[in-house]
């Protein structure tokens, strides 16, 4: 149910949840039913983002995107997505 994922992402932005840290709301442009990240383990997401940033993990676009954030910012983005409903 792609629609449900989208709504879940939407709900995650509500005032009941903390507002997304800078950059986090852009992710769902690509990450929904395909390549989902909502509700995933924060540590796994952080490690992936850090590895994309350093180039240790190969990618097509994620390396280019992760380089736009400091590690602390990537941590915050990963933590927020891990709390977002699946």
């Amino acid at each position: 149910m792609k629609g449900r994922t989208a709504i879940a992402v939407v709900l995650a932005l509500s005032a009941a949840a903390p507002p997304p840290p800078p950059g986090a709301s852009s992710c769902s442009g690509c990450h929904g039913a395909a390549a989902p990240i909502a509700g995933h383990d924060a540590k796994t997401l952080t490690e992936a983002l850090i590895a994309f940033r350093s180039g240790a993990r190969e990618s097509t676009v994620m390396g280019r995107i992760a380089k736009g954030f400091e590690p602390t910012e990537l941590n915050a983005i990963a933590a927020w997505w891990s709390e977002a409903p699946k």
């Binding site: 800078p22 950059g23 852009s26 676009v61 736009g68």
Partner: protein, 415 residues
């Protein structure tokens, strides 16, 4: 908080305040990637504002991937999206054209005469074509030389013309100076028309007449053209006399400063500006586009009106569907925060954009942006294009990622 501001801001706002409506009202004009996203995200703020989405069409027809429709590789139905999910989210959908904005009364009037009051207005009107800006190219000319830069009937018209052309024909395309919707779009279109010709009408030619010397993903496109379409696709830069100064729709002739080219099929990527409602509302500057604050997307010219998507002057961010969607989420968050009387945090925004050189040959450009001195600016060291020397497997993978991006973003926006 909001009501007090209205009272302080002058008597004109009072009739609407007098309704004693506690729930703030946000009106959104335009149901594309920007406006429909903003509507859905605003409805989930707590407490949610009342959201009115004003859009003249029953169905949205998406531009990304419409070049595949022109090439005969995709049906137009795959580009159409309805608003049923938006409505189920409690958004009031008004199927009418917004005709005027009264920024002091804070109302929007639509084509049937109804008026909608707002505390904050989000304009996401996309583009309108600047008819006549290219001499000879008016609305009637588009029936002979389709622009197909708003997806729909125009897309199918260009498709039919290509189908009807005999093998050995000449296709001519005109590309305008910056800025315009979808910077790599003309070159993807050229690629996919060339793909169609190569496979179905191989004696034909495609001539791309450009008012620029440099363009988005240029090296990637030019490498692909050299490899895939030698002798078929010819790109003429500004320096080489590519700038089209006049078209004659009757004879399908494209005039440059140096000569003229007669087409069997012609397509004009038209000069354009922010959708007409932007200028009417007073948020467009002399360039025809809308200067904004990069934290809130509030207009630099008219308070209380936010502008997102192709219509906005978003600094380094391109006029893309991904950018409109990303801007809409940041803008929705900022509007909700402002309606609560708080100060929005400084955002980061991302853009990712895929292009095709064939249906199985894709590449991308990405960017990460932050406000610097009031302008959305590329974060250094981030972003950029796919590598020039990538193996074929990466081109295939990026073609598939592009399709997945389209599925994901359209389900986020339209359900």
């Amino acid at each position: 908080m909001i009501r007090r501001r209205h009272i302080l801001s002058g008597g004109l706002a009072l009739p609407f305040v007098a309704k004693a409506q506690a729930t703030p009202r946000v009106v959104i004009v335009g149901g594309g990637f920007g406006g429909a996203t903003a509507a859905r995200f605003l409805r989930t703020a707590v407490p949610a504002p009342d959201v009115v989405l004003i859009e003249p069409n029953d169905m949205f027809v998406a531009c990304p991937f419409s070049n595949l429709v022109i090439a005969g590789e995709r049906g137009l139905d795959a580009q159409r999206f309805g608003y049923a999910v938006a409505l189920s989210g409690g958004i009031k959908l008004v199927t009418a054209a917004a005709t005027s904005v009264d920024a002091s009364a804070r109302t929007v009037k639509v084509s049937d005469g109804a008026q909608y009051a707002y505390d904050r207005l989000i304009l996401s009107p996309g583009i309108d074509i600047s008819w006549g800006a290219l001499p000879g190219y008016d609305e009637a000319a588009a029936a002979r030389l389709p622009h197909a830069w708003k997806a729909g009937e125009q897309t199918m018209l260009l498709r039919r013309q290509l189908e009807e052309m005999s093998d050995g024909g000449t296709v001519v395309m005109s590309v305008p100076p910056n800025p315009f919707r979808c910077p790599p779009g003309p070159y993807e279109r050229a690629s996919l028309i060339a793909w169609y010709l190569k496979n179905h009408k191989p004696k034909s030619k495609l001539l791309v007449l450009d008012a620029k010397d440099v363009f988005s993903k240029q090296k990637l496109f030019q490498n692909a053209w050299k490899q895939l379409y030698p002798g078929l696709l010819e790109w003429v830069s500004l320096s080489d006399g590519g700038k089209v100064v006049r078209v004659d729709p009757t004879t399908k002739t494209f005039e440059t400063e140096f000569g003229s080219h007669k087409a069997d099929v012609g397509t004009v990527v038209p000069p354009q500006s922010a959708g007409a409602i932007a200028a009417q509302a007073g948020v467009a500057d002399r360039s025809g586009w809308c200067p904004i604050d990069p934290v809130t997307f509030e207009s630099r010219l008219v308070p209380g009106i936010h502008v997102i998507g192709d219509a906005a002057i978003a600094g380094a961010m391109p006029k893309s569907a991904f950018a409109a969607n990303a801007q809409a989420k940041v803008c929705a968050q900022a509007v909700a925060t402002l309606l609560h009387g708080n100060k929005p945090a400084e955002p980061r925004l991302i853009n990712t954009c895929y292009s095709l050189a064939t249906p199985n040959y894709g590449f991308s450009i990405a960017g990460v942006y932050k406000p610097v001195n009031g302008v959305l600016t590329d974060i250094e060291g981030a972003g950029g294009t796919s590598p020039l020397d990538a193996p074929d497997s990466q081109r295939v993978a990026e073609a598939r990622y592009g399709e997945r991006w389209f599925q994901t973003i359209t389900s986020e926006v339209f359900g």
